[in-house]
């Protein structure tokens, strides 16, 4: 086993992993500590919710949790680079679409040029023109 980086949202966490071809096998306690998910009794649970797992064979392999299976169970996209020992677990389309369909502006916190973080929600109470731009 050696380390593998899983980028989960804005965090990059190092987990112990064994690689078999394109399969990334993670130690279940690492998945719990680093990613917050634990499998038991046919369910994948976080602090906030449990997801029933119909296809345990797709998720578990020799007692390890397979990263692709975990992503599928969470309905989240996975970008994988076995050679670089890194993967990015992205946001579920359903989750993003439901949030936008609610018409409530999703909150975020980003830094300004000085590195000072600004949360969108801290500007609540005023009309906001939000502009995405780039030097490209």
């Amino acid at each position: 086993m050696s380390t593998f980086t899983v980028i989960d949202g804005e965090r990059a966490v190092e987990v112990e992993a064994r690689i078999e071809g394109e399969r990334v096998l993670l130690d279940p306690s690492a998945v719990k500590d680093a990613l917050g998910w634990e499998y038991h009794d046919g369910q994948l649970c976080s602090d906030m919710m449990c997801i029933p797992i119909d296809d345990a064979a797709g998720l578990l392999r020799d007692g390890a949790i397979e990263l692709g299976g975990l992503a599928r169970a969470l309905d989240r996209p996975l970008a994988l680079d076995v050679a670089e020992r890194a993967a990015c677990l992205g946001a579920s389309a359903r989750e993003r679409a439901e949030a936008l369909a609610s018409q409530i502006a999703p909150d975020f916190t980003l830094p300004d040029l000085d590195g000072t973080p600004h949360a969108l929600s801290s500007y609540r109470g005023k009309k906001i023109l939000l502009v995405a731009w780039a030097s490209w």
């Binding site: 989240r76 970008a79 409530i104 975020f108 906001i128 939000l130 731009w133 780039a134 030097s135």
Partner: protein, 196 residues
């Protein structure tokens, strides 16, 4: 106003910010966090959020001036007039039904593309340019309409985002009948800035 720069580093955005002398927050979004949350696929993208934190004008394209009107076909007054009227309380923003109708929602492929971008950006930030390239290309294939990936990653691929490779990409895209910019349609129900 809150401006979010989808640039690979703060230094790329800095000269533009300093030239503008902004009185409003300008935030740096190297990992495209805001683009992911709001399903932003190109720049500039604007949206309006009301006092209660609700989106009242979803993803639209607007420029502050007519500098590029001859290229984009978009008049600044279209949005500026509507914006002014909304801010001053003279005209409402879009109705909830109109917002729902015009709010673009991401597909699974869009989100897979964003995950590829996220991995590529992380690899690039650690000097893994060749590995990053693979994921940027994959992201562009998965979401060919997402120019925050197809054009936005060019500076991380040693390509000029204003240069021949971009022009080639744009030509192929527009030549295939697809718009590069997708402004909201101008109808009287959308509180347009044009004469009403």
């Amino acid at each position: 106003m809150i401006a979010v720069a989808l640039d690979k580093t703060a230094d790329d955005a800095r000269p533009w910010i300093e030239a503008a002398h902004p009185t409003y927050p300008v935030l740096i979004d190297t990992r495209h966090v805001m683009a992911d949350l709001y399903n932003v696929v190109n720049v500039p993208t604007i949206l309006w959020i009301d006092e209660r934190g609700r989106i009242v004008r979803p993803n639209d394209v607007a420029f502050g001036a007519d500098t590029f009107k001859h290229i984009t076909g978009l008049e600044a007054s279209r949005h500026l007039g509507a914006l002014r009227a909304w801010v001053q309380g003279e005209r409402p923003a879009l109705t909830a039904d109109e917002v729902r109708k015009h709010q673009p929602l991401p597909t699974a492929a869009d989100q897979q593309a964003r995950a590829e971008f996220g991995l590529g950006q992380w690899l690039w930030s650690r000097g893994g340019l060749d590995a990053a390239e693979r994921h940027f290309v994959r992201g562009g294939e998965l979401a060919p309409h997402d120019f925050t990936i197809r054009r936005g990653t060019m500076p991380m691929r040693n390509m000029d985002p204003m240069g021949p490779k971009f022009r080639e990409m744009l030509q192929a895209w527009v030549g295939g009948g697809q718009p590069y910019y997708r402004p909201l349609p101008d109808t009287s129900g959308l509180a347009s800035g044009l004469a009403s």
